[in-house]
Symmetry: C2
Subunit: 203 residues, 2 copies
């Protein structure tokens, strides 16, 4: 078994934190955006979309998409449960993980890809779209601050994959977009201090 | 239990097809985009994001996000399995459902929202983004045609939620975007003829 990852990649970090929470250690082959080996023919034969992470099983089966990889490990190593412990909890974790993806993670990636000079020539850039997403992001951070008023974690009362998704989104916002959590977002700031101080946060 | 749905809504249709495949019938309250009752305060109290569908359980618990609602029913009514039957199958269905969302469904919605006059004044439109997504969509339809070469269904060898997602995306592409599957995409056309003739396809 082997994980293909990407240095500083937003999605690969989701999987690495997830695996660290499960106390799983597997071989990792790391690509980087400068040399972009994951866009070369040898790797495109494994994943024609050229996305990372990719999990390769011992029989050669390839699993792409971060959450698919995480779900595979959730079933193989159930403890601690990061997708919820009951039918209802699993539905709520799915709901909140998707909200964190659609409302935070995808906007963060769009702002980065469409407004940062790094991506010029690498991807078609539409700066106006990046700016629209930046506005959405500010709005959703305020919304999430309200949702965390009486909650320690996102969606359910234990640390879960929705926390990981939000955490990676906001880490990227702060690092690549220079967009920190506003000081008056007290609940979101408290949550951030808690999740980012976990031993797995820099996996 | 009650499902809040949206007439002609792309995501609510995913859930309605899923429920029809499970032979589940529950009360549905239908909103429409013209009167937009789902953007009024009474409904925003249930879902501040104003998205549909929403499932309301008898104890008042609210589940938003199509796939979260589907996953809840998958656990309550396991047959037929639409998320896969084994650990590996479930990982592959998750992978393919996400590919269908990221590579087809979200681009279809973006082309519609950013280039169709219906959305003018309703949502910030960035036409250049809509056009970039239209190009992506053409590319991904060709890719999916290749992936379906030796396959009856998407990802695994039984009809599953990734088929539903792709089917709803391509139904919307054809209806709202006037973008049909190109004739030389033989595998995708065969798959489309098969899934769109299922009794549940117009749920």
């Amino acid at each position: 078994m082997k994980l293909y990852s990407l240095k500083n990649g937003v999605n690969p970090r989701r999987v690495r934190i997830f695996l660290a929470e499960k106390r799983v250690s597997i071989p990792i082959e790391e690509f980087d955006m400068e040399t972009a080996g994951h866009k070369a023919p040898a790797f495109l034969a494994k994943n024609p979309l050229g996305t990372l992470p990719v999990l390769e099983l011992d029989d050669g089966t390839l699993i792409t998409e971060s959450v698919a990889i995480c779900r595979y490990f959730e079933e193989m190593i159930p403890e601690p449960p990061l997708f919820g412990r009951s039918t209802l909890e699993r539905a709520l974790v799915e709901m909140w993980n998707r909200r964190m993806e659609l409302e935070l993670l995808l906007p963060v990636i769009d702002v980065f890809v469409h407004t940062n000079p790094f991506w010029k020539g690498r991807r078609p850039q539409v700066p106006a779209w990046g700016e629209a997403r930046r506005a959405q992001l500010a709005d959703r951070m305020r919304w999430l601050d309200g949702e965390l008023k009486d909650r320690e974690f996102i969606g359910v009362d234990r640390y879960n994959i929705a926390d990981i998704t939000a955490q990676v989104a906001l880490l990227t916002a702060r690092g690549a977009l220079k967009l920190a959590i506003p000081e008056d977002h007290k609940n979101l700031s408290r949550w951030w201090a808690s999740v980012s101080s976990r031993p797995t946060a820099r996996a």
